[in-house]
């Protein structure tokens, strides 16, 4: 299995609070991705990174920010959590932009 760890695995937070999810990899892959998975929508890309401090928006980036200060860590921040951001969040890594993506086990976030 690819060395990719998401933390926390489960979190319940209140509306309006900031939340940070962490993705850590030990594979030295250049690309890292954050997706959210919701019933009926499949996986949707939030943000991705193609190197340290190099990030770009995905199709559902509003309300989210990311940072990548080290190759191995990619952080996803919900600036002010809303109930619509209740979801399962997956981090993925890839050697190149079009290569196989290896996924973490996911973080289940509930905003109440």
């Amino acid at each position: 299995d690819a060395g990719i760890t998401q933390s926390p695995r489960h979190k319940v937070t209140e509306t309006g609070t900031p939340v940070t999810l962490r993705c850590h990899q030990t594979e030295n892959h250049r690309y890292m991705y954050w997706y959210r998975q919701d019933p009926g929508h499949g996986l949707r890309l939030i943000h991705y990174s193609y190197g340290v401090k190099d990030t770009d928006k995905g199709e559902v980036s509003d309300g989210y920010s990311v940072s990548r200060s080290k190759t191995e860590d990619f952080l996803l921040t919900l600036e002010s959590a809303t109930s619509s951001q209740t979801s399962v969040y997956f981090c993925a890594i890839g050697y190149t932009g079009g290569s196989e993506a290896f996924f973490g086990q996911g973080t289940r976030l509930t905003v109440v």
């Binding site: 690309y31 997706y35 009926g40 929508h41 499949g42 996986l43 949707r44 890309l45 991705y48 193609y50 770009d56 995905g58 199709e59 997956f90 993925a92 932009g97 079009g98 196989e100 993506a101 290896f102 996924f103 973490g104 086990q105 996911g106």
Partner: protein, 110 residues
């Protein structure tokens, strides 16, 4: 957004039956991937197809990429309970982003 539609959304079959899952789009993709996801886990890659008309086989699973690179299918022969899971297709159009389909949830009943 480059929409990928999968059909059927849900599929429940008996062990030993054959099935086909479809992934369709109006967009052209430079490559397409199929993943399988089990409950509580992240998706795991099954195959990548890159050439229009390409057919790849993985044991009892057969994957085909459409000639125009807009659609793909996954055929499972003699389904087994271990095939149960959520099957996702994902298309890449050269922009370092994969667009995922909505998924097909397969249940194989022993």
């Amino acid at each position: 957004t480059q929409l990928l539609e999968q059909s059927p959304q849900f599929l429940s079959i008996q062990e030993g039956e054959n099935l086909t899952v479809y992934c369709n789009s109006s967009s052209v993709f430079s490559s397409l991937q199929w993943y399988r996801q089990e409950p509580g886990e992240g998706p795991v890659l099954l195959v990548t197809v890159v050439t229009g008309g390409e057919v790849k086989k993985l044991k009892r699973l057969t994957f085909q990429f459409g000639d125009a690179r807009k659609d793909s299918s996954l055929h499972i022969t003699a389904a087994q309970p271990g095939d149960t899971g959520l099957y996702l297709c994902a298309g890449e159009s050269g922009g370092n982003q994969f667009y995922f389909g909505t998924g097909t949830s397969l249940t194989v009943i022993p």
